[in-house]
Symmetry: C2
Subunit: 345 residues, 2 copies
Amino acid sequence: MGLADKLQMADIARLAGVSTATVSRALSGSKLINEETRTRILELARSLNYTVNVGAKNLRMGENRTIGVVIPYDSKSKQALSEPFFLSMVGVLASALTDQNYEMLLSRVDEDDMVSIADLYTSGRVAGLIVIGQWHHHDDLNSMALRKVPLVVWGAKMPQQLYCSVGSDNELGGYQATVHLLNSGCRKILFLGDVTLPEAEARYQGYVRAHTELKIPLPEGLTLSLPFEASAARAILSKRLEKLPLGFDGLFASSDLQAFAAISLMNELGLDVPGQVQVVGYDDIEIAKHFRPRLSTIRQPVELAGTAMLNSLIQQIKGEGCTSISLPTQLIVRESSGMNLEAKS
Amino acid sequence: MGLADKLQMADIARLAGVSTATVSRALSGSKLINEETRTRILELARSLNYTVNVGAKNLRMGENRTIGVVIPYDSKSKQALSEPFFLSMVGVLASALTDQNYEMLLSRVDEDDMVSIADLYTSGRVAGLIVIGQWHHHDDLNSMALRKVPLVVWGAKMPQQLYCSVGSDNELGGYQATVHLLNSGCRKILFLGDVTLPEAEARYQGYVRAHTELKIPLPEGLTLSLPFEASAARAILSKRLEKLPLGFDGLFASSDLQAFAAISLMNELGLDVPGQVQVVGYDDIEIAKHFRPRLSTIRQPVELAGTAMLNSLIQQIKGEGCTSISLPTQLIVRESSGMNLEAKS
DNA sequence: CTGAAAGCGCTAACAG
DNA sequence: CTGTTAGCGCTTTCAG
């Protein structure tokens, strides 16, 4: 390609018959410059499609407006980023970053290699990191925070936490879902979710509190540990559903995807939802309302979450420390539950 | 924060008692260096968590391994990146880029301002661009290609196209879906999709060809223009379904989301799918198989698409020109269609 | 108001 | 094998 190498400030300077310093001033809106030369330079640059080289600029100014957004993935399944809730989070973050004039470097990391993302920061690639998904990485995250890497994590707040986290109030969500199911007449609620994960654990705590407060005995053996991902979950669920009698009349899943899988399977076995088993999910992903039956669920405030995470990160970058946040959840009652008491939405 | 400013190569050099040149060599695996000093430097760097500043390195080397991935959005709805198919594409691209040691800068652009993404390239921010979603931007894309911006677009191949596109064989997909519905006994198939969009238009062409080849008369007034996005589509669809008699016994939607919305609405009106209307979607997004009824659809090969787009872009960056690609589609028959002939999957 | 010159953190000739 | 030196493209004192 005879493509003349990319245009530089020096080229513009020569063409305009001024020095690069002047061009720089014109382009950056300095006021130490003649209005007439400024417009001349601006027009020249525009007509030539010239844009300042960001890398060089950053190097010189010691600045950096790109944020690393990281989604850890399971090294075994190597699964393509598929959790819809996380994906929608990426979308929201993309908007929030754009609004604040930041850019987003999206990275997937093998979860066995979490700490390596710190390099994005130490190498000056990004000004800070947003990690979507806490999983079991509490320690890795802590060690990065210890190394002063600006960092905010989507997840639950844990004891002894050095990093900053933003998450929905998982305990509250679990409580809301369970109270709703109990009020709707359920007495044996199956809890679906991996309680070794901080978020799921908190949701389970809410489940327990609901039983306690309503003075309904906590059923035995009604928690089933499932991965977040749908098809893996299906296999395990499927095995559980073979046991008859079912032994439950309500189901609280710690993600909508799990709820879908469960409903799907139950339908296949001829069980009616919500007739025989009422179901509540978690997340309120977009398709929840298009599912049949429309899925009752706990909504996590994604939009809010995105801006909260970004603000928190920016604060840290400025060196102002950080405060973990937990955002309110909201019960959305649709068709898969709420036979008796609640209003439909 | 007393946080000593970030570590630099000069610091490592001083600490190791060598010059920065030596450190640079050690870190970049040059062989012009004593094995013993190398390991000493490497260990020092590791223990101090030092990483080379990528910005400075790029500037010096004139290299750039980041790729811009762009998803245009509708300026009116300002909708968060929500199309699940595009989102999964982002996931796949993230993996493909990582595999090839590239980084991904994810951008959302107002669709009224498409051309501005060229700045990402001219400013040296990225080495090339992947645009997910062609929409109505044919001209903008062409003009960017004319300006020699390395660019690959997910979409249909169009006449007079200067940019490089990768897409599924939309005509084939439309054909497969329609043949299947016709073979399953449908005679009046409603086509759902905005035929002013290149991709939907091609799918419609396939729909027409299927009728022609099977010598079945093309029904009148059975195309309905819908936006890709679900809730907007619902409103329009809903109006159409009020007209009775329905006048169709099959439905081919140009996205799974549209199919979901349609099925949902039809169910509400007491229509049975596939009993009264058989439905085929397009995309085969993850939830398609969990929907009730499980959705028959045309699968687009996302994984393949991701690597194809990246390879094509890399080729362009190397200055080797580009060739547009169209990928094969696959009919997936599930429960929402295929009463008679096809095997279930 | 404008230009000359220094330097952001790094790599690559070029000499030892 | 290693150090010295020059500069990648830009911004910003410091002098005019």
